[in-house]
Structure formats: C-alpha cells, structure tokens
C-alpha cells in the first residue's frame, strides 16, 4: 500500500480522540481499518491525520444494559458473532455479522467502524436500522444518542460530525422474536448484491410484528415499512409472507452497478424478503 502522506495519532482516551479530531482539518478515524485502508490505498481519501482508536480499550466489549445490549464501537465482528449475550438477545446481529467478509476481516473489523462507514452494501447498517438500534456519540459538545433512523444520511454519510467519536451502539433486547439475515452475493466473500435483515414475532400461527431492513437497495440502508405493515396480523405461512414481501422494493432507489441492475435488485429484494420473513418466522 502506497497512500499519500498523513499524520498518525493513537489517543489514550475518548476525550483525547475528540480533541485531536476537532483540531484537525481533514481527519479520518480508524477503527479496524478494513474500510479505511482501501480508501487510503486507492488515494480516494487524503486525510491529514489518521486517528487510530485501537488504544481505546473501554470501547471494546458487550454489556447488559437492562432493556438494551450495549456493544462498544471497537468490538470486533468476531467478538460480536461469538458473544452469547448477542446470540441470546439480538441473534439477528450475530447472524448478519457471520456473513461479513472473511475470518481475517472479522478479526480486525469492528461493529462501530462498519456502521460509521455507512456503506449501504455493508451488512450491519440494515440490521441496526431494522432493530431500531441507537448510536452513542461523544463529541465536542458532550455525549448524545442518535436513533438508527436518523443516523444514516446518505452514501458513506452519517450523523457523525468531524469531531465525533462513535463510542457504542445499543440494541434493544428482543426476546421471543425470530430472526434471519438473507444475504445474496455473487461470491462467498463479496459484498451483498442485496441483503434482507428480518425479525418476526409470532403469536401461535399469526405474525404480530415484523421488522425488515434492506442492504444495498439505496444510498442508505432502507426499512421496508410497507412489508412490515403488510405482515401485521397475517397467518404465518409461506404464501402470505411471500405476498407481503411483494412490496419490499417500494420506496427504494437501488443502484445500477457491475453486479446488478436496479430492476434485478428490486426483484431480488422481493424474493429474498419473502425467504427471510419465512425463515425468521420459523417456517
């Protein structure tokens, strides 16, 4: 890798990180480095300083926070997918994280880095959106909480300001829900052409509630609200869930790129949403 020249800082605590970021013209935060490194390598990013958060051990790990699971931003994908609390209370995150890239990437890449990078083709943003996660942010003006619905603003763009550090993400504990992440990719370690994060709650044979987040169906992760509404109160059967999934692409603006044209992505979103709902509903 031959990036352009940059300064490198490894802060010892969050306050120092926030201070360094605020004092720089064009800083870039590095968590696990799995998204930033390619940007540096291709000289698509020209930061004057790279702020490496790997020294902030307090940002690592999963804690039980009552109604929530709080996951430190520097927790690696590997730690998330192997964490028993995540598996017990937020299995959708475990399932989706298992599909991220390959073991080497999952050992370095972090949940915070992945979400803050906000690549709509990444797997975790759709999960955070579908589950109404909340983002805990430290900035120059102190700490604040941003709901997922307000976090993803555009392609690679979030509600984080230049001086902000994402410190943790918290997910509501969802007992009694079924989950599935349906990822469709051209090769095992490629990005999702389309991904569907689904959570379903049933009361015997009836679906009482469903949540659906879509990966790579627009410039941000997308919530398939029409599908969620269509699922409410329907019998938990394959045909009805497939029927409900027919509106999965409503309100989306999927990209045209090498791996897929928009019309194919819309088709995939409908098919895969049906499959994801069925699996999440235990059918």
């Amino acid at each position: 890798m031959i990036p352009a020249q940059f300064d490198y800082v490894r802060p010892g605590d969050v306050a120092e990180a926030v201070r360094v970021l605020a004092d720089s013209d064009e800083p870039k935060v590095m968590a696990g480095g799995q998204s930033l490194t390619p940007l540096l390598r291709f000289r698509l990013a020209y930061p004057d300083v790279v702020v490496d958060l790997s020294g902030l051990t307090e940002l690592r790990g999963v804690t039980d926070d009552g109604e929530w699971l709080r996951i430190g931003a520097m927790t690696t994908h590997d730690e998330v997918m192997n964490n028993p609390m995540v598996a017990a209370h937020c299995a959708l995150l475990s399932l989706a994280t298992r599909t991220v890239a390959d073991p080497a990437v999952r050992h370095r890449g972090t949940i915070g880095g992945s979400l803050a990078h906000a690549d709509p083709a990444g797997d975790l943003p759709a999960v955070a959106l579908a589950l109404d996660a909340e983002f805990l942010v430290s900035g120059e003006d102190g700490e604040r909480t941003v709901p997922a619905s307000e976090f993803f603003l555009d392609y690679l763009t979030t509600a984080l300001d230049v001086g902000d550090v994402l410190t943790a993400v918290r997910f509501p504990k969802m007992g009694g829900w079924g989950f599935h992440y349906e990822k469709f990719s051209q090769a095992a370690q490629a990005w999702a052409v389309v991904g569907v994060a689904a959570a379903v709650r049933r009361d015997d044979g009836t679906v009482t509630e469903a949540r659906v987040g879509l990966t790579n169906m627009g410039s941000t992760p997308v919530r398939a609200s029409e599908v969620e509404a269509a699922c409410r109160g329907v019998p938990a059967r394959l045909e009805t869930l497939r029927e409900a999934a027919q509106s999965a692409d409503a309100g989306t603006d999927p990209p045209n790129d090498l791996s897929a044209q928009a019309d194919y992505r819309r088709h995939l979103a409908r098919v895969l949403t049906g499959r994801a709902l069925a699996k999440a509903a235990g059918i």
Partner: protein, 800 residues
Amino acid sequence: MTTAPEAPGTDQVGSPRLRKEDARLITGQTNWTDNIQQTGMLHVAFLRSPHAHARITSVDTSAARQQPGVVAAFSGADFAGEQGSLPCAWPVTEDMALPEHPPMAVDEVRYVGEAVACVVARDSYAAADALEAIDIEYEPLPAVVDMEAALAEGSPLVHEGSGQGQGSNKAFVWPFTAGDVDSAFEGADVVLTRRYHQQRLIPAAMEPRSVVCRPDGDAFTLWSATQIPHILRLMLAMTTGIPEHKIRVIAPDVGGGFGSKLQVTAEEVLALLLARRLRKPVKWTETRTEGFQTTHHGRDQIQDVSIAADADGRIRGLKVDLLADMGAYMMLVTPGVPVLGAFMFPGIYKMDAYSFSCTGVFTTKMPTDAYRGAGRPEATYAIERIVTELADEIGMDPVELRRRNWITHEEFPHTGVAGLTYDSGNYEAATDRAMELFGYDDLRAEQRRRRESGDPVQLGIGVSTYTEMCGLAPSRVLGQLSYGAGGWENASVRMLPTGKVEVVTGSSAHGQGHVTAWSQIVADKLGVPFEDVEVLHGDTRVSPKGMDTYGSRSLVVGGTAVVEACDRVLEKARKLAAHMMEADEDDLEFTDGRFTVRGTQSPATSVQEVALAAFAAHDLPEGAEASLDADATFDPENFSFPHGTHLCAVEVDTETGEVRLRAYTAVDDVGTVVNPLIVDGQVHGGLAQGIAQALYEEAVHDADGNLVTSTLADYLVPTAADLPDFTTDRTVTPSTTNPLGAKGVGEAGTIASTPAVVGAIVDALRPFGVQDLRMPCTPQRVWRAIADAREAARSEGGQR
C-alpha cells in the same frame, strides 16, 4: 482401463511426497522479487495514461524532479533513442501488422494504463507522490473497444496505417482448411451454428509483477517475477542492444504466473535502462490495480462455429471463424494464442472436414496474450458446447453423441482432421470412470423429477470430454508455425564428491513443485535418497540453458531432459564402476543405486562411491574424465495429449438466477504421474480457474476503454469458499512420445471445466427454451435468460 507400466525401481515416482518447497514458502522464508534489497536501491513509479487512446502533446517532468526524495523523472521521449520496441516472437503470417511498441509511450497512447513517464526516488512513497507533479497533456483520440466495430468501414484506427493492408484494425488473417468442408455441410442432415463469446480475463497471479535491476560494472543483474528468465534475457538483449552475456536474469521465488509472466514487459526493459542511466539499482513492483490494467489479459474472442452432422449424430464437419482481440499491441505471443487454438477445435472427434480462420483485431485495450491454456480452452469451450447442443438438437444423450464420434482407444495413434497425431488415449475408460463416480444416471433421474414437479430449483448436467496439446513443443513444428524459438529443454545432473546430487534445469518453476518432482525422478533414476537431490533453476548464470515454463511443458520436456541427463551420468558411472570392480561393463547390474556383478556375490559399489572415485581421479579408466556430470537437451518429436472427462451438476435457483455447483467429477488422463499430490493440486487450481471463467470473472471496459473491473472487489476471483468438493480420479494411458510417459497437467482443469459448467447451466434451463448463456453466468444473467425465455414463450403462445 489402462495402467502405467511397472517402472524399474519405482518408489519415488508415483508417490505423493510432500513438496520440498513448502516448509520454506509457508513459513515466509521466501525470496520474492519485492523482498530483494540492494544497497542504494531506488524505487520507480510509472505515470500511466488515463486515456484509452490519445496523442501526447506535452510532458514536463521538471516539477516532479523537485519533489522530496526524487532522484530523476523521465518521459518516453527521454528514452526514445534506446528503449526499442517490445518484442513479438510469433508473427503468425508474413503480412501480419507489427506496430512499434515503445516501453514508454512517446507520441501516442493506446490503452488505459500505458506508461508515459516515470519517477525514480529514494522510496516508493516519494516516487508515487511525485507522479502527481508531472505535467502531461493529451489530445484524446477515439477509443476502439469493440472488435466488430473496429473492423467496420470507417472505424477509428488504433494504429494509423499499420493494419493489414493499411488503414484497418485487422492485424492478420490466419486460415486453415482440411478436407472438403462444402460437401461435408451440404450433405448434412443437421447443421448448427452458434456464436460463443470468450470474455476477456485477467490472470491475477497471487504475486504481483516486480523487477529489480542492478548495474554490475558494464553488466546487469535483473531479478524479475517471471516465468521465462532465459527468454527474457535474450529478448532484453535484442530489445536494448545490451549484449546478452552482460545480462544475468534471475527468477527468484515466483508466486504464480498462469501465462501472465510469460512476457517481456515495458517495466523490465525500463528497469534495465534506468539502472544503466542512473548507475544505481532500481526496483518496481506493481499495485494490484496497476497489474489488472497493465499485465496482459487473456482470452477475448468471438467464435462463430458451425457443425454439420448426420441424423444419427455422426459429425461430418466443423467451421470456425474467430475474431481475436489483440488489444493495442502485439506482445510476446499475442497473435499465436488464437492460432494455437486452431489445432484444438476438433477436440477428440473424428470428422471429414474442418475449416478455421482467425482474424486478429487491434483495439485500444491492454494486449492479450497467454493465459492458462492459451488458445486451447477457447477451442475446447466451443467444440464441447456445440457438440452438446448438437446432441440436444437430435435428441441424443450428450455422452452418447460423444461416444459415436470420438477416437476409440484401438485407433491410436490417430492423425486427426487438424493434422495433429494423437499418440495415445482412452476416452472410453475416462468417461466410464467419471460417470460411475458422478452417479450420472441418478442425477439424470433427479433432473427429470425436478422438471416434472416444476421445482424452482432446477438441476443441470454438463459434460466435457476434452483433450489438449501439451509438452510445448517440437522445435520443428514451432518453426513451421513461424514461432521465433525452439521448444527443447535442457538439464544437467552433477554428482558431488559426497554422493549428493545437483540437478540444474532450464524449466523455471513458479509454483509447480518442480524441485520435488525432479527430485523424485532423479532419486529413482540414480538410486539416491530423495533428500540428497538439490534442484537449481531460474537463474541464467546457474542454469544457463533453458526454454522456461509454460504450456504444460516442464515435466514432459524438462523432466525428460533430466531423465536423459541421468542416463548419461549412469553411462559414465557404469564405466568407472566396472573399472573399480574389475568387471566387464556388460556384467554389471544397477539396482537401487548399487552396481553389482551379475551372478556373483562380490560386494556392491554404490553410485556415491563411484562419484567419490571420479572426483578423486586417482585411478580412472583409460580416456575417462574426472566427472560423472552430464547434461542433456530434449526436443520432443510430438506434443503430448492429456485428456479426460469432466462432469458437472449445477442447481439453478430459477427465482434468483443463482447457480450452485452441486457436484463436480474430473477424471483426467495425464499419463504417468510423478507426484499425485501435485497433480491433484494442479487439477484443483485449474478447475477453480475454469469455473471462474464460467461463473465469476470478466474484464469489463466502458465505452471509453476504461477497465471498470480494476480491483479484486469488482473482478471476482473465486476462493475455496465458492467451490464444491471436487471428485477427482485418473486413468493412466502413458504418452508414447517421452520416456516418462507423462503428458502435462498444468492446464487440464482450466481447459476442461468451463464448458462443463456452462453446459450444465444451459442443461438446467432447457425446459425454459434457453440454448446458451454469455459467460460469466452471473445470477443476473441467468435470471434474465430465464425471464427472456419466458417472455419469448408467452409472446409465441399469444401469436398462435
């Protein structure tokens, strides 16, 4: 089924020895070119054209020279007087257009990524940074991206006035005809015509290209990640005028090539010239994107193929009309690749007549050249696909149609319609074994069930009964094909005083495991321990004679040279042993490394004892020299012809277009196997690359000639995670054209697998009316093919 003859004293050859190379490679004790450090070494970075086609109107490198750490900066014009033109060793026709190809463009650029200037700096970061300070202006010219458009009247020209017959992008036309093609087609019950596209591929070897050059007085040492140190030395001398004996080329550890390092590159020539100009060692290593843009590409043909047959499936004739994309220039064997394919289109089938024509076309893209199989995968794809379509057309099982047409095992040696004499083979045995392992009948039954029930997941079966020409190549044949060199190989075997053995080979390993395989051969021949053999290669000073490694030639040609050198060592050893043992030469027996006198109980003399006696030279027979060392040069009389039967089953999810490889069985006949582990590795890797062409890989250019798939995120190279467990087995029908009986295995998997996979997908979709799919068969393409076929069926139904 045929089996290998019992070779005398065999215990190493045929044994799955772990590779001698691996402990060092796996633990990182490696010597890649980019690891090489030299005192005072400078680093080179190239500025590359962002245009597919443009005139260079001005280049100013002065600001770059002022950048921190920069030692020098040059434009193409600065080397115009000495850089020469990159060589093409295979002018396939007398009138072939052979445009000048300066290593650094001087007046005009003709593909995106062509080098236009360079910076030499104290480190690679400074060199890369300073590129941005070079001021260069271009006057854009029209890109020529599409082959058919390039041949149309009025197309912009890639090279003004240097096409065949001038004013054209046609580089050459190479025709071949055998038999009466017209009557073969006129009298046929069935004639099928198909157009197949061989998409452009990027070889993507694991190790990027890299070169280091150090001036040594008036001589130069050049390290390069190359497959061809010997050819490279010769070509560097011819291109630059630096005398051949003043250039030493070393191929250190080389991490894969697949043909992409069978090349004489701009960067190698310029490294040599920069080292001469600056009197300092220089290094250049490509980035992955640089490699994708500027390491030669493979394939890229449009194949118009017609086959004529009787109603009972007997093939009468074949017509092939190729357009082959040369890219912007003729590189080392660019035009020869599609021409080599001419001999392989008839495959394993008997037929009365065959015609072939190849038109080489210039476009403003990276030149194409050899890529694993080089002409043979393209040909095999076309024949195996159209034979399968022929079977469908006449309602016959695709295996049965093949049986009716292939050369039977009793018919070898057999001279086919394309003029090649296949020395040996047993297609029946390989096919029977493959069908048994695959469970062909059961899978066909499952296919029927899925079709009848309208299962959204359909099953398809693909068949590929391939052969290939390997062991490149008889020098006489290469001469007839206008190739610029021979096809022999050289080896030396040195007996050291302590009985250890050094083997010097002209083959140049870059991942194949030659060190292990050659050690096995020598251990058996000389009766010495496997561990006592050291194999030296890849350095023109250490192994001065060689023709290097490509075209599945190393074992067949280079391995035979080793065998013959061993025979000569033994001939000398026998004379000396007889003298030492006071016996007649003819009474000596040699077994397991020991000479004994036939019919006596006298003590044996080991080959190691003989080696020591030769070294001491205290008591040599009259006229003998104080050495057992010998060398040999082997020039094959014929190619070798590996063959095999590959069967592939795919599941196609008709709702999404996803293709899953359900089962893959490969039964290959590569002749005598020296190391089954290495052969399995070659087959597995070859399958991965052939499957990659079928399902994943394509170098995509936009209308302006930019390579869109310039990273590994866009150009999908499959990994083990994408591939099924392969079922592999072998039949052994030894080659009769070399003493080892080996046929070569480096390319077999790649050649065989692509049509098997695509054939399987088409087979799965036949109920929908799908007859063909463009490669790579991505989910989107498969889904659209189904959607289009359904649409066509609907509108057809509506019209009725």
